[in-house]
Amino acid sequence: MIAIIKYPAGNITSVENAVNRLGYECIITDDIAVLRTAERVIFPGVGEASTAMNYLREKGLDKIIPALTQPVLGICLGQQLMCNFSEENNTECLGIFNTIVKKFPPLELVPHMGWNNLQVLQSRLLKGIAAEDNFYFVHSFYAEPCESTTAICNYILPFSAVLEKDNFYATQFHPEKSADAGEKILKNFLGI
């Protein structure tokens, strides 16, 4: 069973649809027992960091998520919440990835919205992804590159497009909205 973490954040249905298209069943839940025993956990999200973290704390999920041992994939806000800290309303986050989330300086249009390509370093998640493949981004905050960064995207400045550490994976872009290239990444994650 694939579990998608339920919390007040945007595109949860899109993620569910994408997982279903790949032939997997999934459940959207904030039930701790279900999350602990799921084969894979996806932590999606479009929204605001402090509201999301408050909800996770209320549900006790702030303690549970970093302690999960199965493969976990954060998407967009999910990725940012897996870092130490976000400048978005100065929010303490889950601390899985040792980096901080900052707001883009307004040197170009913010949010970074649209399709962009990656500079892939060593990545398990991005197996089979080519330099010319593009992914769909919508975000105004970004995770600074760190030792867990496995792909960089350049927009205004280089930022962590993908983070990987032990059983934790995270993408700033939306694989569920990134056509075939995005499906490949979801498939990679579900097959890890």
Binding site: G10, N11, T13, S14, N17, A18, N20, R21, V46, G47, E48, P106, L109, V110, P111, H112, M113, G114, W115, N116, N117, N134, Y136, V138, N154, Y155, H174, E176, K177, S178, A179, D180, G182, E183
Partner: protein, 250 residues
Amino acid sequence: MLKKRIIPCLDIKDGRTVKGINFIDIKDAGDPIELAKKYIVEGADELVFLDITATNEKRKTLAELVVKIAKEINIPFTVGGGINTVEDAATIIKAGADKISVNSSAVKNPVLIKEIAGRFGSQAVVVAVDTKFENNDWYVYVNGGKIATGITTIEWVKQAEQLGAGEILLTSMNNDGTKQGFAIEITNTVSSAINIPVIASGGAGTKEHFKTLFENTKATGALAASIFHFGEIPIPVLKQYLKEQNIQIR
């Protein structure tokens, strides 16, 4: 590099696409999902579904269609037409649309932009603006271009941005349907005046028109309908051409 977006628009009436469709290799060109999938395979970067018969009775049908589209579509899509209240927007977004587009309803009630952005984020709100050049300026029209508002386009897009619009979809009524090219001047003026993405619409007739648009304005996307529906410029041909012209294209 961030890519310029090529966005086909599908007009929907009673759950079916309208306008002649020239694709011979799909079974039912009136089926929005089949047509959308065809465009995705061809490389469309986003899709816009515009419900041209949206009435209160029909909105339920639209929401049901959006649920089906969302199950099948793996790129971002916008739904517009007849979204008058934040509840209308909520119905469509909960059905699975990534963005909703508002036009006349936002001009009549600008707070609608703020309400939708406040609930779903600015990235979910596309403000569609129909603009017409007359008496030496560009003015906003509503109700499908039938009613003049007397509001200048610049004034309106700045207000829309302030209220939380995530993108502007700018259609020049002077250019729409002419196939003589996009309205470069107003697109340039608008895209330079605001800090949110502008999608240009109206007037596309050749591949060169897209090149001219992207080279002369800050538009981050181009929307077209008939040239794609009638197969006049297949999306792969257009994208290949733009790549050869060194325009950043997926």
